[in-house]
């Protein structure tokens, strides 16, 4: 996990045109070490505080870091408690991933094209904007009963809930992206004979990409947040359902274990999106600063 911290988008090599001297390379290495030390150090301090707080208060309701670590080990490899949760981590991560990414990609698949069109076509904006802003504030949790009626008990209801949560950030950021593109670019393209779907493919979409990637990052965060609600829909496996089971069984070590794994999954997904976005957006001034 510590290696991923080094991937924070700090200095990009492209921003320094001259060949790096030994001194500069050393300085950059020192800067990297510092970033890792700070990035990893802070959560370690938090864990220490957590450990002390549990020890000092003597609470039995909140597990200590050690208990969570044991649970994490058993969840991953088994051999400690040997119960229904031992060595099942990959199944649960995999099931949750299919739901999170299923809902997320569905949201991107619908949200990005719709956002591009709403951003560009006034009629569509006037038609849909009020409805979107009316539906948007409705909490995803409120959709839970209806989603179970629409899609029945099972993964489809979970995917739908994740989709709902991921859809609006993607849609709104795409619309915002289109609206903030310099109109001159559209005019220049139109003048050169670009129109219709070619305009969307060649100009509107790439020009809006910086904002679209922002939307995707926010949306993937929501998607992982919503997996717990999503898996309240009566699915037997998945990290959300593990947390729900832990709650029912009063096993807070299991709950915290599930929380940490969701956090790590979201973190890794975010890193992946950032790496892709840094590659795709090399041209964008605010992305190679």
């Amino acid at each position: 996990m510590s290696e991923q911290v080094t991937a924070l988008p700090e200095a990009t090599p492209q921003s320094v045109p001259e060949a790096p001297s030994a001194a500069r390379r050393r300085r950059r290495l020192a800067e990297k070490v510092r970033a890792v030390a700070l990035g990893v150090g802070f959560p370690l301090v938090l864990i220490l505080l957590w450990d002390r707080a549990v020890a000092i208060t003597g609470t039995r309701l909140v597990p200590s870091p050690r208990e969570v670590a044991v649970m994490m080990y058993d969840f991953s490899f088994g051999g400690v408690y040997d119960d229904a949760f031992s060595a099942t981590i990959l199944t649960h991560i995999w099931k949750s991933m299919t739901r999170v990414y299923g809902g997320f990609f569905l949201a991107a698949l619908i949200g990005i094209p719709l956002g591009l069109m709403i951003g560009r076509i006034r009629l569509l904006r006037q038609l849909l904007d009020p409805t979107i802003n009316l539906l948007r504030p409705i909490p995803v949790t409120a959709w839970l009963p209806l989603s179970m009626i629409f899609f029945g008990l099972g993964p489809n209801a979970a995917i739908f809930l994740v989709f709902l949560g991921a859809f609006y950030p993607i849609l709104l950021n795409t619309i915002f992206g289109v609206r903030s593109v310099d109109v001159r670019l559209f005019e220049a393209a139109a003048m050169l004979g670009c129109s219709g779907s070619a305009m969307f493919r060649q100009i509107v979409f790439p020009a809006s990409l910086p904002s679209i990637f922002n939307g995707l990052r926010i949306a993937q965060g929501f998607a992982w947040i919503l997996i717990v609600v999503g898996e309240m829909t009566g699915v037997p496996t998945g990290l959300g359902s593990v947390i729900m089971d832990g709650r029912t069984l009063s096993r807070t070590d299991l709950v915290v274990t599930g929380m940490i794994i969701i956090g790590v999954c979201g973190f890794v997904t975010d890193r992946i999106i950032v790496v892709i976005s840094n590659r795709v957006l090399q041209w964008s001034p605010q992305h190679h600063a």
Binding site: D182, R184, E187, A188, C194, S195, W283, S284, P285
Partner: protein, 141 residues
């Protein structure tokens, strides 16, 4: 009648009013002009008198409030590659390389790839940008 004998561009009674807040601003008031094929025409006037607005109407970016513009006898309804306008600030596509920017227009005309590349190379060479040709245009400056 052959096209060379009739005016290439006809601006007929073009007016343009913009909504500004609660009021209206009249940018163009019944402009008439005819331009022959191959003519070099200068539009001269004080700042804010409507030169750019007229140009934008001819380019098809703005719809006139009244009147019409004909090019080759056909009314202008939208921008098109038969009319070119050079913007006051450059309008480059920052996600494309210098060569892709140059080749964008030819590519819209569905020219074969080889031809698009030849055209791009020709103009890259013309302005001496060979060394920056494959760089993103946002960084070529």
């Amino acid at each position: 009648m052959r096209s060379a004998e009739r005016p290439h561009v006809v601006i007929r009674g073009v007016s343009k009013r913009f909504q500004v807040g609660d009021g209206e601003v009249e940018a163009l008031a019944r402009i008439d002009a005819t331009i022959e094929r191959g003519a070099f025409v200068c539009l001269i006037g004080a700042s804010g008198c409507g030169k750019s607005t007229l140009l934008r109407v001819v380019a098809g970016f703005e719809e006139p409030t009244a009147g019409e513009v004909l090019v080759e006898g056909k009314p202008v309804t939208a921008p098109g590659s038969d009319r070119g306008m050079v913007f006051q600030d450059y309008a480059l596509f920052p996600w494309m390389t210098v060569r892709q920017n140059i080749g964008f227009g030819p590519r819209q005309r569905q020219l074969p790839r080889k031809e698009v590349e030849d055209i791009a190379d020709e103009f890259v060479k013309l302005v001496g940008l060979e060394r920056a040709a494959i760089r993103a245009s946002s960084r070529a400056a």
